[in-house]
């Protein structure tokens, strides 16, 4: 199934103006974590914080709404949030942790929860995993290369990055510029080429922009726990929902892109097998 297992799929956004201002899409990630913090469902969340270097995110332990707001928005490069979890448990003493990640990041943590071989009482502390849709991720120098070379701008001048409507967009003081997605091909990391999960099938709640209008998010609550938190946040009025557009720019598009990604991933796997290269073993 293209979308994995889920309770429902809705179009949603945060009702909080502060979140809307800084979030990438509907602000679902920030809103859910803020709600979960408030309700003590989690005591902290590992997010992609900013550093002094432009577009060089660093996994950060957010302990407040302010921390969450400061880390909102998509960074199209690596923020391996997993690496902060041990510190959150052992140094900060957090018993209930939230984290956000691309589908592959979620897979690493889920594997650790099912098989906690060497991580003593760490993986069980992760109580809320929010998965973000992902087509590919870029090394920071890839971003730099095509933003400098093809968009004639710079990382430092860029205030927002986004992928949508077939283009990679940057916002700068000079306005918005787009680069055809095709022009970014070949700059993504190689590990993405065998990836088949667009919609973070193993997250508690998955969310992304594909299938929803600007400023809104497509949301899949998946697990019991994830669904509970999401529904509670909706009931509390922190998140508003509307039915998904089933058509060409809604679910249909998402399904097409999810299947495309799986097909491309499978084709690359075939190619690698042909070269005698190894693939992750599926159990």
């Amino acid at each position: 199934m293209a979308f994995g297992t889920y309770k429902e799929v809705v179009c949603a956004r945060s009702t909080d103006k502060d979140i809307q201002k800084v979030s990438q899409d509907g602000g679902i990630v920030t809103a859910l974590f803020a709600y979960a913090l408030e309700e003590n469902i989690i005591e902290g969340a590992i997010v992609a914080g900013d550093t002094e270097d432009p577009w060089k995110p660093e996994p950060t332990i957010a302990l407040s709404r302010e921390d969450l707001l400061a880390a909102a928005g998509t960074k199209y490069t690596f923020s391996p949030n997993a690496i902060k979890i041990k510190e959150a448990v052992r140094q900060n003493g957090l018993e209930k942790i939230g984290t956000v990640g691309t589908p592959c990041q979620i897979m690493g943590l889920r594997k650790m929860q099912s098989y906690p071989f060497s991580t003593r009482f760490v993986a069980d502390k992760i109580k809320l995993m929010i998965g973000i849709f992902c087509t590919e991720n870029f090394p920071r120098d890839s971003l730099r290369t095509f933003i400098d070379g093809k968009l004639h701008s710079s990382l430092a001048a860029t205030t927002k990055m986004d992928i949508g409507k077939g283009k990679f967009w940057i916002d700068t003081v000079d306005g918005k510029q787009g680069l055809k997605i095709k022009e970014t091909h070949g700059y993504e990391q190689a590990g993405c080429n065998i990836c088949r999960d667009l919609v973070a099938k193993y997250a508690d709640v998955s969310t992304g922009s594909i299938g929803s209008a600007d400023g809104w998010s497509t949301v899949f609550p998946r697990t019991e726990g994830g669904n509970e938190v999401f529904q509670a946040a909706v009931e509390a009025g922190l998140i508003e929902t509307k039915p998904m557009d089933e058509g060409k720019f809604g679910l249909e598009l998402l399904e097409k892109l999810a299947n495309n990604k799986a097909d491309k991933g499978n084709a690359e796997r075939e190619r690698r097998l042909g070269l005698g290269l190894p693939l992750p073993q599926e159990l």
């Binding site: 949030n81 990041q105 099912s114 120098d141 073993q281």
Partner: protein, 314 residues
């Protein structure tokens, strides 16, 4: 339940399985699924499995009353486990005991520890040398020293006496930090060559970790008692692995274009020998203890999709 476990051992060891084995296995799988689906915490899982075992025992009590020989069989039916200590730090044994809330249940109702220098005092090399009994499972902690004739003798004998030989913890599986030994130290300057136990005997399963975590031990015991071979598959697959280090992460994942930059390896590393640099694990050799945790946890070496779905109720 335990009948199933024995049949599984037999199958594993290439012995003939009885015709009804498949049936039994299917039943077994069902009961395991129920247990595992119901709970996510290992402690709760273990308790539940123990309760189920108890309930089963109770429900068959009338039969036991009918014949006293059956009662004996019932008791003897708990898996007989040996805990063998080679060259390691006892961290894995301590990890086992760290399952405080289920330890007494495990030791009294789920398994019988029949051999070992720790937890029980039965040892062939002890002051009161005792014969090594037959065992269903032998948990072997520590690497084996090639200059230690006692260890070698014990290891070879365990292989004879145990149905299932498990490399318990990273030292037994990969040699871990004992790989750095070069001898020349007291009390035995000649003791210099420490190797994974699989270099000398056939190993059936491995539980890596420095130490193996209390949770993985609890989950493994539950799976063993329930004959849940699906859960144990990764452990069986890793049995022959005797090579694991941060450099293997580089050669088997990064060099093979598999790394996705998720950082799970860094989280798993117990010694901070790994850090993420530009989205890739960077390996500091002088901190690495060769425990294999990084490769074991990487989602790009193997991924248990079915188990993850089951654990999440997806």
């Amino acid at each position: 339940m335990l009948e199933g476990l024995k049949k599984w051992f037999n199958k594993l060891l290439g012995r003939e399985a009885k015709p009804d084995a498949e049936d039994e296995k299917a039943k077994l799988k069902d009961s395991v699924q129920q247990v595992v689906e119901a709970e996510s915490k290992p402690a709760e899982e273990a308790k539940k499995a123990a309760d189920a075992a108890k309930a089963e025992a109770e429900s068959s009590e009338p039969n036991i009353e009918e014949s006293s020989t059956q009662e004996v069989e019932k008791v003897a039916d708990k898996p007989r486990v040996g805990y063998i200590h080679m060259s390691g730090c006892t961290g894995d044994g301590m990890s086992l005991t760290e399952n405080y809330d289920i330890l007494s249940t495990v030791l009294t109702e789920m398994i019988d520890i029949v051999y070992g220098t720790t937890l029980v005092d039965v040892w062939t090399e002890g002051t009161f040398a005792q014969e090594m009994p037959e065992m269903d499972v032998a948990l072997i902690e520590g690497s084996v020293c090639l200059q230690d004739e006692h260890s070698i003798k014990e290891l070879l004998e365990v292989r004879e006496k145990a149905g299932l030989v498990v490399a318990f913890g990273s030292c037994a599986m990969t040699g871990c930090f004992t790989r750095y030994s070069r001898g020349g130290q007291l009390a035995q300057p000649k003791h210099e060559s420490f190797v994974p136990i699989s270099n000398l005997v056939k190993v059936d399963a491995a539980i890596p970790g420095c130490p193996a975590s209390p949770e993985i031990i609890a989950k493994t015991i539950v799976a063993l008692v329930n004959g849940d071979m699906d859960y144990l598959t990764p452990m069986l697959n890793m049995a022959a692995c005797d090579l694991a280090c941060g450099c293997d992460l580089q050669t088997s994942v990064v060099n093979k274009a598999l790394c996705c930059g998720c950082g799970t390896c860094v989280l798993a590393c117990p010694t901070r020998a790994l850090e993420m640099v530009e989205g890739r694990p960077s390996h500091n050799k002088s901190r690495c203890i060769k425990c294999g945790a990084c490769s074991t946890h990487c989602p790009r070496t193997w991924f248990p999709a079915e188990r993850v779905k089951k654990d999440l109720g997806l």
